[in-house]
């Protein structure tokens, strides 16, 4: 499974959104309905799945689905 698909799967499950809503430009809060509590748990899901640590500062910069993909790639995660 591609990195994009794995991230989409986590977002769909955590935010109870439809897969087609999870586009590259979708904003996690404004478009996908995440509140600050969802964001904390979403970061935990990403940390668990990809076995890395996401600092609060890094987490705050992850606003869109695409930014999550880019962030994980810069951490050397490909799939």
């Amino acid at each position: 499974m591609s990195l994009e698909n794995r991230i989409a799967e986590i977002i769909v499950s955590r935010l109870n959104v439809k897969p087609e809503e999870v586009t590259d430009s979708a904003n996690l809060k404004d478009d996908l309905g995440a509140d600050s509590l969802d964001m904390v748990d979403l970061m935990m899901d990403l940390e668990d799945t990809f076995n890395l640590k996401i600092s609060d500062e890094e987490g705050n910069n992850l606003q869109t689905v695409g930014s999550v993909v880019v962030f994980l790639k810069t951490k050397g995660i490909e799939a």
Binding site: L15, N16, G33, S36, L37, D38, V40, D41, M44
Partner: protein
Amino acid sequence: MSDKRVVITGLGVFSPIGNSTSEAWENAVAGKSGVVRLSRIDPEQFTSQVVGEVKDFNPAEILDPKSARRNDRYTQLAMAAARQAWDDSGLSGETIDPQRVGVIIGSGVGGMETFETQHSTAMDRGPRRISSMFVPMMISNMAAGQVAIDINAKGPNFATVTACASSSHAIACSVDAIRLGRAEVMVTGGSEAPLTMMSIGGFCSMKALCTTFNDEPAKASRPFDKDRSGFVIAEGACIIVLEELEHAKARGVNIVAEVAGIGMSCDAHHITAPSPGGEGCARAMVMAIKDAGMKPGDVDYVNAHGTSTLLNDINETAAIRAALGDQADNVMVSSTKAMHGHMLGATGGMEIMLTALALKNGIVPPTATHENPGEGCDLDYVPGVARKVDIQCALSNSLGFGGHNVCIALRKYKGDS
């Protein structure tokens, strides 16, 4: 004292004997038990293996997937029951100012299942893996908060936590709120989801639960019976819409019954055992009768707390005798826990709903499992089958660990009387 009167104009329920008011009422009258062998977790680990479970409850479907994920089962049940009750009342943001609608919902514990799951996570993986939703899901006031969001109720809002009297306190506080003019409508009642390892295990350790009918669940909850051995733990939620009488009349809405009086007291005696002779319970009953403008001789029916524990049933019987005097030999007393089990913080709501329907329909639900009276249990417990009697005045008792006693007096509503 305020001259405002308070009536019931909406009911909603998810319980071991039904997920709608009509289903729960029909099963209560038929004496049909909702007690089953525990299926939510492994029953073999407990000495008591029979419980009252809410069946066919799919929160993702009844609410929505996000609400289901972000709420403990106790809040899910409360939200589902509140939606029913709100629909039943016919109220909406267009017919009442949201600021004049309050919510008070009781729960003995709140999100126990959430606490247990998250505690396990913390023990296995450390506190950094505790979900951000842990606190909001666990706290015992979240049902009241979520229901308010759901129906847009912006008036007084809080939770009552008095063990098995929680929802009766919620209803008592709601009656007070309407009488004091703090709101025209109160959405109230209780919710509990205690079918978890810590809850069942904890009550087993107290030797409070029934252990002698594990093979015959339907017979396990036997209030006032000589073979009773403890209560049957149950889950569920019951939500009641209370409304100021003139407000309800102006809407031309169906009125179920009047909540005419409340009585509250404390034993100040022991953490779990009732005071001798049920004197604390008796005082609450006397207070409720007086508050309702009734006389002991007016009381046709008492929906007893009747838990099916040795101590409760003896002491509550004594309390009924002390409060009603000679009328105790005429009054019908039943414990509907025989059918739905002990829904703890939700049980008062459930029983006040059934008492209101008994007044409305002129039918007294039975203590279905009662066969032979236990020692010291010498009242008319309406054993086995329901009775068709046009009752006018009724009481509902709820008593909680901590010595909390609540009695709610209800009166049949007969139009402009």
